[in-house]
């Protein structure tokens, strides 16, 4: 892939959203930011990103629902999805996997950790 990989990031916390966007941008990814679940789904269907990083706790559509919707639509059905969450219960992890997530990053996370997971998800 010669072009920069396109990563969709959705988080209702603008600080986190810009932190992740900044970090991934610095690392050479093209990043689309979405402030809520609905926008995330719209952007994903429109742009078909190579990876989606979705916060679980969001207004309108939460991260699980976003993941489910992406899996239901052909263009986005196979893209890797990493869920971001502050929830720590095992049941939360299980629910995320069920919804179609590939990986799970617990808040607080270090940007270095996130970077590694993104690389892993994109197969680099």
């Amino acid at each position: 892939m010669s072009e920069r990989p396109l990563v969709l990031v959705a988080d209702d916390d603008p600080d986190i959203l810009s932190l992740v966007t900044l970090r991934l941008g610095l690392d050479g990814y093209e990043v689309i930011g979405a402030p809520d679940g609905e926008r995330a789904v719209e952007e994903a269907l429109e742009r078909t990103p190579d990876l989606a990083i979705i916060d679980v706790t969001m207004p309108k559509l939460d991260g699980y629902e976003v993941a489910e919707r992406l899996r239901q639509h052909e263009p986005t059905s196979a893209i890797p999805i990493i869920l971001l969450t502050a929830r720590v219960q095992d049941s939360d992890v299980a629910r995320g996997i069920e919804a179609g997530a590939d990986d799970y990053v617990k808040k607080p996370f270090s940007t270095a950790d996130l970077r590694m997971r993104v690389q892993a998800a994109l197969g680099r």
Binding site: L19, L22, A86, R87, D90, P108, S110, A112
Partner: protein, 869 residues
């Protein structure tokens, strides 16, 4: 005899032989006649169609005679010597002897032949006329039918020479007759010796009979003589006995009872003359009293068989109807052969004696009957310490189990011995104290029955002075055991009823109170005096009145019932009672009232109500707690999210800055940002700890079990704590012996060790020492963290594992901490099935010791294990 028999039998034999011969002859004649007749009939039939009707209407003419001669020429000759044809009216129409033609004989025989009977006869050939030799002949008649006519037209008669035919028959019969005669002779020859023997035996018998007959005649003669002498003696005897003042008699044994002779004195005794008496056979059995008849009959039978003399007494009814008692003295007279032959006896009038005896017996029986009927023992006794009995009725046996005879004159036992020992003295006092005034006395005491039981008796008596001047006691003893026991039982029940705290009451069918115990007085406030005779309805509140009467009705119907009801006390207050009612029935089983046992359940009711209220309150509180718990979980989730998200930003941007992404960072800036990062991490740890505890409390702590090298975990923790230790110049030493891998959650065990080691470093002053030791026994991994800090006061040691607990020194010295570390440590150790202990002497440092079982966890399945905190 033999000769006579031989002659007789020979004659009989000859007669039999002659008979047989005669019979043979006779049979031969009969057979000849039959043969001739058959021949005549055959001839008649054979020649039927050759006869003409005219042959039988009148004498035939010459030509016809020639034809017939010719026709019969085949027949005539041999045995047949003459032929005749007869007309119906008895005229001979043709014969081979022409002299006979035209003769007439209207005999009856001819008519019967014509009517169908064949006939034959023996006679002389020329009996009915004719020429030629007149020898014996057999003639046979046969009816002749011509031209198939159904009625005969005439008769054909054939004559046959009798001797020839007879000789032929005799020739066949004679040998048979001779054989029979010979057989008879042989039979006689065979039987003769036997017959002779029989005859001999009969002759011997006859001789013997003759002899016996002679002997009998002789005996009869002797008897007659004996009888004559007996009669003579009898006459003499009678003359004698008829003078005696008693009735004498003679009876034959097969007809006992004055049956042969009775002396004239009978008339004086019974009013019958001997003639009258003897005239009726069996008069004795008519006269004897029916109550005595059977007995006397038996006595006779036994006496005759076994005794020479015996006597009996019985009653006889005199002619006047008066009953006479007699004594009958009987002598059995034996005959010459030694067998009993006659009974000879005397009757003596004993009526006067008997009557006085009976009167005495009757009086005694009456007395005994009277005494026996008294429902108690009647006595007469001496007034002594034994109560020596002169008389004691049989009823005593029922009371004490010993017969009355035991006590008479103290033969076997004294009466005093059956009186209950505790009552003996009282009995003496009661009796003697009444003696003075000659008053009757009544006393009660107990007697000992032979079977070991005790009977209650009442004795009533009086001192009497007998004819001989002695003073005795006359009295009677009555058994009152049942009454007395009943009384005791009633007293016992009454005592129970009175002492009961429950209200025990009864009422009749109208509800009028009939009993009211102390319990009832206390429960309802009314005294027994107030309630007995009053209606129980005063207790029933108006609104329950209807229910109350229905309950009583149901109790009477069903027998019993249990209810919880409200009643009004005398003071007007209401009480709740549980009442058990049962129907009271009389001996016929009819209900006559109800009995009730009531308990005050007001307190119980109140307690029940309180309890229900409390339960409700608890339920509400519980719901509220559940709600709070839910809120807490939500809160924790919120906190974790809301705290972590900003912390993520803080750390993320710090990293960006420190990485130089926002431009060059000066040393001082880096130092300041380091403080920010450290505090952010602290905050993060706190949040982590809080969440961890929340998880434990929710029972949701889970272990990710894997193989853990505890020595390595310890080494990492030591390294983590080393920067701080070096800062405080604390010697941090690690000593491990080779440890087996154990099954556990590596992250949690790391957390445990971090807590313990960092605590030790924190609480150890500058220049102190912290030793971390990891070892293992056979079954356990053992971790020890020992510090040289200020130690933990004894009274605080038991609290150090509680969450948020901080020791007084930690607070005093402002050592940072949340008070969660040890609580978390303890939960982790417990989740691994181990123990954590603290040993500390105040001021001498502290040692935390953790033991974790190796085997138990090795055996456990790897994977997630939910462990409740």
């Amino acid at each position: 005899m033999v000769l006579r028999f031989a002659i007789y039998s020979a004659i009989a034999l000859l007669l039999a032989g002659a008979g047989i011969l005669w019979f043979a002859q006779h049979a031969a004649v009969a057979r000849s006649e039959r043969e001739v007749l058959e021949r005549a009939q055959t001839t008649s039939m054979l020649l039927a169609d050759r006869f003409q009707r005219s042959d039988f209407e009148g004498p035939v003419n010459a030509s016809r005679r020639a034809e017939l001669d010719h026709m019969f020429s085949h027949v005539i000759g041999g045995e047949v010597v003459r032929v005749k044809l007869w007309s119906e009216d008895g005229t001979i129409t043709y014969s081979n002897d022409p002299t006979l033609i035209g003769d007439h004989d209207s005999s009856e025989d001819l008519a019967s032949v014509l009517a169908g009977d064949a006939k034959s006869e023996v006679g002389r050939l020329n009996d009915e006329g004719g020429a030629g030799e007149n020898y014996r002949a057999l003639s046979a008649y046969a009816p002749v039918r011509t031209d198939g006519a159904s009625e005969p037209v005439g008769v054909l008669e054939l004559y046959t020479k009798f001797d020839e035919v007879n000789a032929e028959a005799m020739a066949t019969l004679k040998p048979v007759a001779v054989a029979l005669v010979l057989a008879l002779l042989l039979l006689y020859a065979a039987l003769f010796p036997i017959l002779r023997q029989v005859t001999g035996a009969l002759e011997a018998r006859t001789r013997r009979l003759q002899q016996q007959s002679d002997e009998l005649e002789k005996t009869i003669a002797e008897r007659k003589q004996a009888l004559a002498s007996l009669r003579e003696a009898d006459a003499r005897y009678r003359a004698l006995v008829e003078e005696l003042p008693l009735v004498s008699y003679v009876s034959s044994l097969d007809n006992p009872g004055l049956s042969n002779y009775v002396s004239p004195q009978l008339e004086e005794l019974l009013g019958y003359t001997p003639e009258e008496w003897l005239a009726t056979p069996g008069h004795f059995w008519d006269a004897i009293h029916p109550d005595d008849a059977e007995r006397v009959r038996n006595e006779h039978r036994i006496g005759y068989a076994n005794a020479e003399t015996f006597s009996t007494q019985y009653r006889l009814r005199a002619k006047s109807g008066r009953v006479i008692w007699v004594e009958d003295q009987i002598r059995v007279i034996h005959g010459r052969d030694g067998q009993p032959a006659l009974a000879q006896g005397f009757l003596i009038d004993i009526t006067a004696r008997k009557n006085s005896d009976l009167a005495l017996m009757e009086s005694e029986a009456r007395f005994r009957g009277l005494v026996g009927n008294i429902p108690g023992a009647v006595f007469r006794c001496d007034i002594d310490s034994d109560w020596t009995m002169e008389f004691l009725s049989d009823a005593i046996e029922e009371l004490v189990g010993y017969p009355s005879s035991d006590f008479i004159d103290n033969r076997v036992r004294t009466f005093a011995s059956v009186v209950h020992p505790d009552d003996r003295r009282r009995l003496e006092v009661d009796v003697t104290s009444s003696l003075g005034g000659g008053r009757p006395y009544t006393t009660d005491y107990r007697v000992l029955h032979r079977d070991g039981s005790v009977r209650y008796v009442i004795e009533r008596g009086q001192a009497v002075t007998a004819a001989d001047g002695r003073v005795r006691l006359d009295g009677a003893i009555f058994d009152v055991t049942d009454r007395r026991l009943g009384e005791l039982e009633r007293l016992k029940l009454a005592a129970i009823v009175e002492s009961s705290d429950d209200a025990i009451t009864s009422a009749d069918l109208e509800g009028i109170v009939t009993s009211w115990n102390k319990g009832a007085e206390q429960m309802f406030g009314y005294t027994a005096e107030e309630m007995i005779g009053q209606s129980g309805s005063v207790l029933v509140p108006e609104e329950e009145a209807e229910d109350s009467s229905m309950r009583i009705a149901s109790v009477i119907e069903l027998g019993e019932g249990r209810f919880e009801v409200t009643r009004r006390r005398k003071d007007g207050t209401l009480i709740d009672i549980a009442v058990t009612m049962s129907a009271v029935r009389n001996s016929e089983g009819d209900a006559v009232g109800v009995a009730a046992i009531a308990q005050d359940i007001t307190d119980r009711r109140r307690l029940e109500q309180d309890r229900e209220e409390f339960t409700r309150e608890l339920e509400v509180r519980n719901e509220r707690l559940l709600e709070l718990d839910r809120l807490k979980d939500e809160f924790v989730a919120l906190v974790s999210h809301e705290l972590r998200t900003p912390l993520t930003s803080i750390r993320g941007y710090l990293e960006l800055v420190l990485d130089g992404e926002a431009g060059e960072v000066t040393g001082e800036q880096r130092q300041f940002l380091g403080v920010v990062e450290r505090n952010a991490n602290r905050l993060l740890d706190l949040v982590g700890d809080l969440l961890f505890l929340a998880q434990i409390e929710a029972g949701k702590l889970s272990l990710e079990v894997g193989a853990v090298d505890l020595a390595r975990v310890a080494a990492e923790s030591v390294e983590t704590a080393r920067p701080l230790a070096e800062e405080k110049e604390i010697t941090l030493a690690l000593a491990t012996s080779p440890l087996p891998l154990l099954a556990g959650d590596r992250a949690r065990l790391g957390q445990l060790l971090d807590n313990l080691v960092s605590n030790a470093v924190k609480f150890t002053p500058q220049g102190g020492r912290v030793d971390v030791r990891a070892s293992s026994s056979r079954e356990h991994a053992v971790l020890e963290v020992r510090d040289t800090g200020m130690g933990i006061p004894a009274d605080e040691q038991e609290h150090v594992f509680e969450r948020f607990f901080r020791t007084s020194r930690a607070t005093e010295q402002a050592i940072q901490g949340t008070g969660l570390g040890l609580a978390i440590s303890k939960a982790i150790v417990h989740a691994h099935g181990g123990r954590i202990t603290l040993a500390s002497d105040d001021g001498e440092g502290a040692t935390f010791r953790v033991t974790i079982p190796i085997r138990a966890l090795q055996a456990a399945e790897p994977g997630q294990e939910e462990i409740a905190s």
